[in-house]
Symmetry: C2
Subunit: 284 residues, 2 copies
């Protein structure tokens, strides 16, 4: 079990990691590769004090090197869901499970707007984790919407359990689907439902009837990553100590709102790490 | 007139300056020399992301070089008072006056606790600026408490105006006092008053009767630096945009509270600069 699990691998995450190590806490950074950070593509960054005239890639490499030097562990993965378990959190990292006493969410800009009805039916037929919720759909019909190739593994897993699995890929090419998975090309428009249950999904002009819809996303919207997390619809709500509404859960960087700048992210990462360390010490 | 006047010369101030320049605002940093920053004395700093294993002095020098490279102006000075003047602020820098549209206070830790009665009688006989308030004490008795040698200039100025000037130096040696200034060695204990006016000051066991008391301090407490500024007694109160309770006045770094760390200061400096720039653009 880690003291602090950091979700994300950008400047806020790396600053939190370096500072958690400085407080002698064990820490693991769960994130996609460095080149997934928006900063990576920046041609020139000149407003992070003390490091003028670098490319985004050069800056990220220096940040990463600093974290590695401090003994930070990295687990390159997509996080689909995090479950509060009393005094700890269970983290699903590409279906490998990890535990941590505290969380720091440094998940960047919320690019995942979701489609109509998606949030409304979250937990009522909409899920982001086949491993977690798949068994609920035994002998039922499900649709998997995949933003990336990991969606195929989700669909294949569900194909062993469900009556029918339809896969809607939002990328190309689709390579490793089982034979009993039906591919449907098109753009998901809305989640359909009656009362408290999903009844189908609209994909372009086609209405696909189903009991459950699984989204395999590049970035899970924060309120579905950690159930009950308060947002203002777009950003995670934090106080000046970077605490969220959930005990033991902190947030830092672009996911807490504008300005979307390195110095803000690095500063918030530091504050979140110190707050998480203080939380751990107070709850020993 | 500057777009943005930054008070202080530590990491928060320099980050604000670099970012104000990036938004194409004119900016001046009013502060004491770099070696007055608490960071300067740090043997090793290792938790500012991307710049591991530096001494505080090395880090400050890199910060300063970055700001100079971006065309930031510096005015090495002590700021005793800042007066709001409608759409601008008037800044007293060692009795030279400057104007700015907005302020960023990056004045560091509030080390100036003040003595008993000092805050209570601020504006009722207690002042931090002889040039501003001296004429109110024509033919009256005043005491000047000097934390540094600039206090002698204040005392000398008052000696031309007042009936009697007593100088209490908190440093050594005292070099340039006029003959008609009385030196009193000792530690100021409390400001004495009756109703709404100062009547004297207690220095060790001695009670000195006077009508006014001038403090020449290394760091002026924030609420007397800018009249009406809201603090929680120790820290300047800010929101997440680093705005204070006064329009056009922002704050960043240690003066806004713990943690007293570089990354927090640098991040807040950035946010304050962007907020000040947005304020200027909105009030054109």
């Amino acid at each position: 079990m880690f003291d602090i699990a950091i979700i994300g691998s950008g400047p806020a995450a790396l600053s939190a990691a370096v500072n958690a190590r400085q407080r002698n806490k064990s820490v693991c950074v769960f994130g996609r590769s460095l080149d997934s950070s928006l900063l990576f593509a920046a041609e020139k960054v000149d407003n992070y004090l003390g490091m003028p005239d670098l490319s985004g890639e050069e800056m990220l490499n220096q940040f990463y090197a600093h974290a590695v030097k401090r003994g930070v562990e990295f687990k390159e993965s997509r996080i689909s869901q995090i479950m509060p378990m009393g005094d700890r959190f269970m983290i699903n990292a590409d279906n490998e499970f990890f535990e941590a006493k505290t969380l720091i969410l440094a998940i960047g800009l919320n690019k995942s707007r979701g489609i109509e009805g998606e949030m409304e039916y979250l937990g009522k037929g909409v899920s982001y984790c086949a491993t977690c919720d798949g068994m609920l759909y035994r002998n039922k019909k499900v649709v998997v919407v995949g933003e990336h190739e990991e969606g195929e593994a989700e669909a294949n897993f569900l194909a062993d359990v469900c009556e029918k699995v339809t896969y809607v890929p939002l990328y190309q090419p689709v390579l490793n689907l089982k034979e009993n998975v039906t591919v449907l090309n098109g753009k998901p428009k809305s989640v359909l439902g009656e009362g408290i249950r999903v009844t189908g999904i609209q994909v372009d002009d086609e209405m696909v009837e189903c009991d459950g819809i699984f989204f395999a996303k590049n970035s899970t919207p924060p309120e579905s990553l950690v159930f009950g997390l308060a947002t203002d619809g777009k950003n995670i709500i934090v106080d000046r100590s970077m605490a969220t509404n959930l005990p033991g859960v902190f947030a830092a960087g672009d996911c807490t709102g504008a300005p979307f700048q390195i110095a803000k992210a690095v500063g918030e990462g530091l504050v979140a790490a110190l707050s998480a360390a203080a939380y751990i010490d107070a709850n020993k």
